[in-house]
């Protein structure tokens, strides 16, 4: 769904998610794209994994990889999935492209015992600086899109997400803040300014 990193050969966030998922657990990957993360989760972490994606080409690529996937729009909810039927529901780099982010997260927490949500931090200093000095919508190697041609419609920050969780009574089990090359000290010290992306493991309270 999100094109940010789909062409990159190495995914720091994939490695991170792989390390976070309990082996042999049941995983639902929302916006699973071409199924690469799901495939690796199944083969490297032995999970029982399923995916959801809106795009037919992605679904076909997933099927070619032997994955079980559902073509659907996650903004419409997860009506086909039972309560707490997955150990983890993943929304990797897709929240910012949803029309109904709150509804999507509620659905994730209904279907999954835990939800893993990652998103680009729109308060990263580079984005702030570009907007401040040039007065134009920022573009970076991570977010290379023009304002009129971006799938990203929800510009949230790491701090926004924390506040959101507090307001909606969602429990944050873990927060991992990532710099350009994975976790680093500076992103840990002031994530909202220095983290390129945030990853949260959340549950219902």
């Amino acid at each position: 769904m999100l094109r940010t990193k789909s062409n990159a050969p190495y995914h720091a966030d994939y490695e991170l998610i792989l390390s976070l998922i309990e082996p042999r657990s049941k995983v639902l990957d929302l916006g699973c794209g071409n199924g690469e993360l799901l495939y690796r989760l199944i083969h490297e972490r032995q999970v029982n994994g399923r995916g959801v994606d809106i795009n037919e080409k992605n679904i076909i690529q997933c099927i070619t990889k032997g994955l079980s996937v559902f073509q659907g729009n996650i903004d419409e909810g997860l009506a086909e999935y039972q309560d707490k039927s997955y150990d983890y529901v993943i929304l990797n780099q897709t929240l910012q492209a949803t029309h109904k982010p709150e509804f999507v997260i509620k659905e994730m927490l209904r279907v999954g015992k835990k939800a893993i949500v990652s998103f680009p931090n729109f308060a990263h200093w580079q984005l702030r600086a570009q907007l401040f000095f040039s007065g134009r919508m920022p573009k970076t190697s991570h977010l290379p899109f023009e304002w009129y041609d971006t799938v990203n419609i929800r510009f949230l920050t790491i701090r926004d997400f924390r506040v959101f969780c507090k307001q909606k009574d969602i429990h944050i089990l873990q927060e991992i803040d990532m710099g350009y090359f994975g976790q680093n000290l500076i992103a840990r010290i002031n994530p909202n300014l220095f983290a390129v992306e945030g990853l949260f493991i959340i549950t219902e309270r």
Partner: protein
Amino acid sequence: MVCWPLKKDNVVLILHALSGDAHAAGYHTTKDTKPGWWDTMIGPGKAFDTNKYFIICSNFLGGCKGSTGPSSIDPATGKPFGMNFPMITIKDMVTAQKKLLEHLEIDSILCLAGGSMGGMQALQWMIDYPGMVKSAIPMATTARLSPQAIAFNEVGRKAIIGDKNWNNGDYYTSTPPNLGLSVARMIGHITYLSDEGMHLKFGRRLQNKEEYGYELSSEFAVESYLHYQGDKFTERFDANTYIYLSRAMDYFDLAGVYGSLTEAFRNVQSKALVISFTSDWLFPPYQSKEIVKAMMNNDKDVSYIEIFSSYGHDAFLLETEHLTLIVESFLSTVTKEFCDASDKK
């Protein structure tokens, strides 16, 4: 990856729909004006690749194209069964096909595929013979006929029964109820198309005319199409058969039979790929999603694709490009999983 045919592990069973038959692909005789009903999908190098898979398509029970149905001769009387033919179900059709496979000494099906009523048979197959079916592709289908679909079927039947030539189904030595059957087929065709599809295919165009005649005789292109389809159908189909087959569909209700749809799929072992089409209002996508949901409730290996199409229910016969890509991908995966795995044993 091609399985050696003699291992009988590359069987693909194609299940035809209401008006289809065993002639699924190619030309059988030099007199054939058209190839089989799924010729776009079945053949060398096509989605169901006859170079790779052993493809079977048989006439289902109750039909009028070679199996036993209302137009067959009742051995007890020496005359066609007509209305004395017993009521049959989708399950009976599957049981009969199972017997055919037994006769062919085939005990494993790599993939089942079928659209519409063929999809219903695929679902029934998966449920009735779970150990035998490795994978299935039900398309444009439903696990229970909706009241809307039953309603259209009933109007079709009423048209046949109301034809003065129907004669309680005893018309095999006289004029058949062609008017009734053609009306039934016309109604059927309306449900196979879509609003958008009709706009694209016919619009308000007139047939062989430029201006409206303000008359009763048909002049719109869409009318002409339906009349043509209706008339053509009477040349190749039996009215009583239409009554029995549409009734068999009406009674198809997996949720009803098994208590719930989730329960129905409890013991299924096949990997499944469920395909629906956005403009199909006869068996709309939500009905396919119910199947997928029920299978996911049982943690089955199931994928779902909703193809964007304006062709309506007929899309499973017409969306060749999409379907080819999808079916090829799925079949290559199941071949890897089931054939190559057995090679390693």
